[in-house]
């Protein structure tokens, strides 16, 4: 009897502590680990209560916004990490991914490819023999702390990208009389760093890129991102702990874009290098692998020194489902936002994120005005084009409430760059076609009228 009481008092005390924390402590609103806003308490309606959706959402809210969410998740990742058998790990696998090694392909070969438009496959010699494992969401985690790299697998087949090419062709049909259309498909790190052992966990990205390019009309200009990235694969062109590329990767692709667009381009000596130390990106949250957290990296970016520019933002209000529900009045701001060392938001250095239209006016008076329609990969590109265009307009494909025809005409756009990371290019396209004829002031699929007015 006495022992039962001792047991019950101990266990109930621990349980009660959890109840107090979960029920009475302030709830988390943002997960630094997952880099996302957490669920908010749902609003009850007759419909969602009757369908059971409301109660389901309450449970989801409770399970999504726990106090100390990130700490609990870190604890579970440590547990997951300790499940593996370390007996067969290769001590030689402590690869430094960005050490200065021989180029994976010769510069001449690469330049030839860029001239001809033919893209050759990349043979990974940098990390071919690295140890790897499959983490949460099929993410390939390779190397050892502190140089771990996490790779987002690609699952697309060789026929992908056709719809995206169709969208580019449609842009060319509508805007071709006044602007050149460029199609840029950005490969991801897995294409260049996937070890041979993990090849079966992902699919090659080059066939999708080639297929996309092959479906473009002659007047749409394909920008070959693959070859310059392959050429510089031994440099810091992809982030190890984030699903994005590094700004240096964007630099090399911007250089290629400037070449095909026939605009001036300055090398890195015209930029001031900045760094955010101790950066751990989104792959920690996605992979649930503690070794990613224990391998922080330096986030380098570059600010142009010899050009003046002003940045104007039109920021959208978005709801919890990331739908545009309103907009703020335009305001001027910094294009490059300095994040402190250790910040997990360093990739937001450029424009501070996605949910806005950005207009950069530069001192490059050459009559070329660029519109970029992009996803988050595209955020890193414009900063390298301030010497190339006098105006750069940046639109995220998810957040645009205007009529694109009018926008292009009003801003006298001369070049339109349609930039998409491979996973979006694979099945996307319709997401940008809709903007061409979209009525001005379309919020969450509805035309302005009953929508909230602009707020300060």
């Amino acid at each position: 009897m006495k022992r039962s009481y001792i047991y019950l008092i101990t266990v109930i005390a621990v349980y009660a502590a959890f109840v107090i924390v979960f029920d009475f402590f302030p709830r988390s609103t943002f997960s630094e680990l997952e880099k996302r806003e957490l669920a908010t308490f749902p609003k009850p309606t007759t419909k969602n209560v009757a369908s059971g959706q409301f109660t389901k959402n309450v449970s989801q809210w409770f399970s999504d916004s726990e106090p100390y969410r990130d700490k609990f998740m870190s604890m579970s990742m440590i547990f997951g990490d300790n499940l593996k058998l370390r007996l067969f790990e290769n001590p030689q696998s402590n690869i430094k991914f960005h050490a200065a090694t021989d180029d994976a392909a010769t510069a001449n070969d690469m330049e030839m490819e860029m001239e001809t438009g033919e893209i050759e496959g990349y043979d990974n010699k940098l990390t071919a023999n690295a140890n790897a494992k499959i983490a949460n969401k099929g993410i390939i985690v390779m190397g050892e702390v502190p140089n771990v790299r996490a790779l987002m697998a690609f699952f697309g087949g060789p026929n992908g990208g056709a719809n995206y090419a169709k969208a580019c062709n449609e842009y060319n049909r509508v805007f071709g009389h006044q602007a050149k259309i460029y199609c840029l498909v950005i490969p991801t790190a897995v294409e260049f760093y996937c070890p041979d052992a993990a090849k079966s966990a992902t699919k090659p990205e080059l066939p999708t890129i080639k297929n996309t390019h092959s479906k473009l009309n002659d007047s749409v200009i394909a920008v070959n991102a693959y070859t310059p990235l392959a050429k510089h694969a031994n440099e810091n062109i992809f982030l190890r702990t984030d699903h994005h590329w590094a700004p240096l990767g964007a630099y090399y692709v911007a250089q290629e874009f400037a070449r095909v667009a026939n605009v001036p381009f300055r090398d890195l000596s015209s930029y001031e290098e900045k760094v955010v130390h101790g950066y751990v990106g989104s792959m920690y949250g996605y992979s649930h692998d503690i070794s990613v957290k224990n391998s922080p990296e330096d986030f380098y970016y570059h600010i142009p020194k010899d050009v003046t520019y002003t940045t104007t933002y039109l920021k959208y209000n978005i709801d919890q489902n990331y739908k545009v529900i309103g907009e703020k009045a335009p305001y001027s701001g910094q294009y490059f936002i300095k994040y402190p060392d250790g910040s997990g938001g360093a990739y937001c250095t450029f424009m501070g994120g996605d949910s806005k239209i950005t207009h950069v006016h530069t001192s490059t008076a050459n009559g070329r005005r660029l519109l970029i329609i992009k996803d988050s990969f595209g955020n890193a590109i414009p900063g390298y084009l301030f010497y190339s265009f006098e105006d750069i307009h940046i639109i995220d494909y998810r957040y645009f409430a205007k009529n694109l025809k009018k926008y292009v005409e009003d801003n006298k756009i001369t070049d339109i760059l349609l930039s998409a990371v491979i996973s979006r290019a694979y099945g996307g396209g319709n997401d940008i076609i809709k903007y061409i004829n979209q009525p001005e002031g379309t919020y969450n699929g509805l035309v302005k009228g009953s929508q909230p007015k602009a707020t300060k």
Binding site: M1, R3, S4, Y5, I6, Y7, L8, T10, V11, I12, V14, Y15, F18, V19, F22, D23, E34, V49, A50, S51, G52, T55, K56, V58, S59, F62, S63, E66, R69, F72, M73, M75, S76, F79, G80, N82, L83, K84, L85, F88, A132, K133, I134, A135, N136, G138, F155, A197, A198, K199, S200, A201, H288
Partner: protein, 484 residues
């Protein structure tokens, strides 16, 4: 709501516990005459929370369950009140038709319509969502009526108490299927000691650990192989994926049963065991005496024996009961095939393996034979699509383009200790550890009990902390058997 949901663990349970304690106090202080135990407030509290628990996931179908209980209440009362056998039987048949009719409409009508459509009959397939737990509470209703008819237990005089039996939240949506006779007397007369409560709490936590720490982790492995592009499955991937599912479903379902039994214990209800280390069996016959025992005994007592059991056309009875067992799991051909597979194996075992081979065969070989048969059965259970079933079997037997791949190796080594834990805890480790402790401590009972106490406390706290950490950030966490 599921037991491994943080909302259940930290909102529902504390709220219920407080109300239940208050109800116990009111029953004792104000309603009891000091001679007879009164459970009025406790039972109302349990009923109210059970209905909230069910309505949380099924706000409309809760009325279907209430209707079903109402029908069974009146039919049960009628059977109990009649002396004439013919009238009792007629009432029983009406009750059974109502119960089977409800499950037929809500679980099988879509399936039957599809069969007719496939045969060319021009009808429209009805779009009826499956009410959660319907297979479990319908079987409990049938158990109630049959037990009343057989005079094993008297009919409930209070609607509330029958509602409590059918809807009691610990076992409402995924069993075990509690026979009416098992808890009939405890509905109005139950007592909970500190030992009971401690045993119940420990059992609940063991179940939570089985589900969250083992089953959920192995589900990541099984999903990785079996849900993505089955066509590109390697041979090693097929073996590892099915093996992971084999452990996942055991720890998932037995974990749920442990939690249900534990919660029942905390309230003074003693549900029968539902699992007894089934993967330690040496034959499929033995397996089915250890796996989902409440379902097996239900079919044995309410279908197999009334059909004639082993007295007449036994082979036919076995095949029919197993087809029915398969169908109970889901309105899909793969489940029927899964049931028939077992029916066939059990017939072969009964007439060939058990009488002629088992006596001469070493036990470990019988065990390997059993594991192989059971392993293959989970393919039929996992995939609802026959093309996928064929692809999976082809891959298992070396027909895949890739025989051994990196992902398979990674799945073993990256979850190595989880595999070890799954294998170990499929065996009666607790019993072995207890026996070893008893042997080591000899006659020193105090030392033995102290070791047990410390082991229990450490195990409970570790499971609780780890489970909470793992549940935070877990997006999808349903129990597999809640879909049946």
């Amino acid at each position: 709501m599921v037991f491994s949901d943080l909302f259940f663990l930290f909102v529902f349970i504390p709220a219920f516990a407080l109300c239940y304690l208050l109800a116990t106090y009111i029953d004792k202080k104000y309603l009891s005459d000091g001679l007879k135990q009164v459970n009025t407030c406790k039972n109302w509290t349990l009923v109210a929370y059970s209905l909230i628990f069910y309505a949380w996931g099924e706000p409309v179908y809760v009325f279907l369950m209430l209707f079903s209980v109402l029908v069974n209440f009146f039919v049960g009362r009628f059977i109990d009140s009649q002396q004439e056998q013919k009238k009792r039987k007629t009432a029983l048949v009406i009750g059974l038709v109502c119960n089977i009719g409800i499950i037929a409409i809500f679980k099988y009508l879509g399936f039957l319509s599809q069969i007719l459509i496939d045969m060319g009959v021009p009808i429209t397939k009805p779009n009826i969502a499956l009410p959660i737990g319907i297979s479990f509470y319908t079987f409990q209703s049938i158990s109630y009526l049959v037990d009343v008819y057989r005079k094993v237990s008297p009919a409930q005089r209070r609607f509330r108490d029958l509602l409590l039996y059918i809807s009691m939240f610990p076992q409402l949506i995924a069993g075990p299927i509690v026979r009416y006779q098992t808890i009939a007397s405890e509905i109005n007369n139950r007592h909970v000691t500190a030992e009971d409560f401690a045993e119940g709490a420990f059992r609940f936590l063991i179940g939570l650990g089985k589900k969250v720490i083992i089953a959920n982790q192995l589900s990541l492995v099984s999903t990785q192989f079996l849900q993505n592009e089955i066509g590109s499955l390697s041979t090693s991937g097929a073996w590892i994926g099915i093996a992971a599912f084999m452990f996942q479903i055991y720890f998932d379902f037995s974990g749920y049963s442990d939690m249900a039994i534990g919660m029942g214990h905390c309230m003074g209800f003693h549900f029968l065991e539902n699992f007894d280390h089934p993967y330690c069996s040496a034959s499929v016959t033995e397996f089915w005496r250890r796996w989902h025992m409440s379902l097996g005994s239900f079919f044995r007592d309410y279908v197999y024996i009334p059909m004639g059991g082993n007295r007449r056309h036994q082979m036919l009875n076995i095949i029919f009961v197993w087809a029915l067992t398969g169908l109970w799991h889901g309105a899909c051909w793969n489940f029927i095939l899964w049931g028939l597979y077992f029916g066939l194996v059990l017939v072969i075992e009964k007439y060939v393996i058990l009488p002629y081979i088992q006596p001469k065969c070493p036990k470990f070989l019988m065990h390997i034979y059993f594991l192989f048969i059971i392993f293959l059965s989970w393919v039929l259970f996992y995939f609802t699509d026959f093309t996928q079933i064929k692809t999976a079997y082809t891959a298992l037997f070396g027909g895949a383009a890739v025989k051994v791949d990196f992902i398979s190796k990674a799945a073993i080594f990256d979850h190595f200790w989880m595999w070890i834990a799954a294998i170990l805890f499929s065996m009666p480790m607790r019993r072995w550890a207890a026996n070893l402790t008893t042997r080591l401590t000899g006659s020193n009972k105090a030392l033995e009990q102290n070791i047990f106490l410390i082991a229990r406390i450490v195990t409970s706290v570790v499971i609780l902390v780890l489970s909470v950490a793992l549940l935070v950030g877990a997006t999808n966490n349903p129990f597999l058997y809640t879909r049946f």
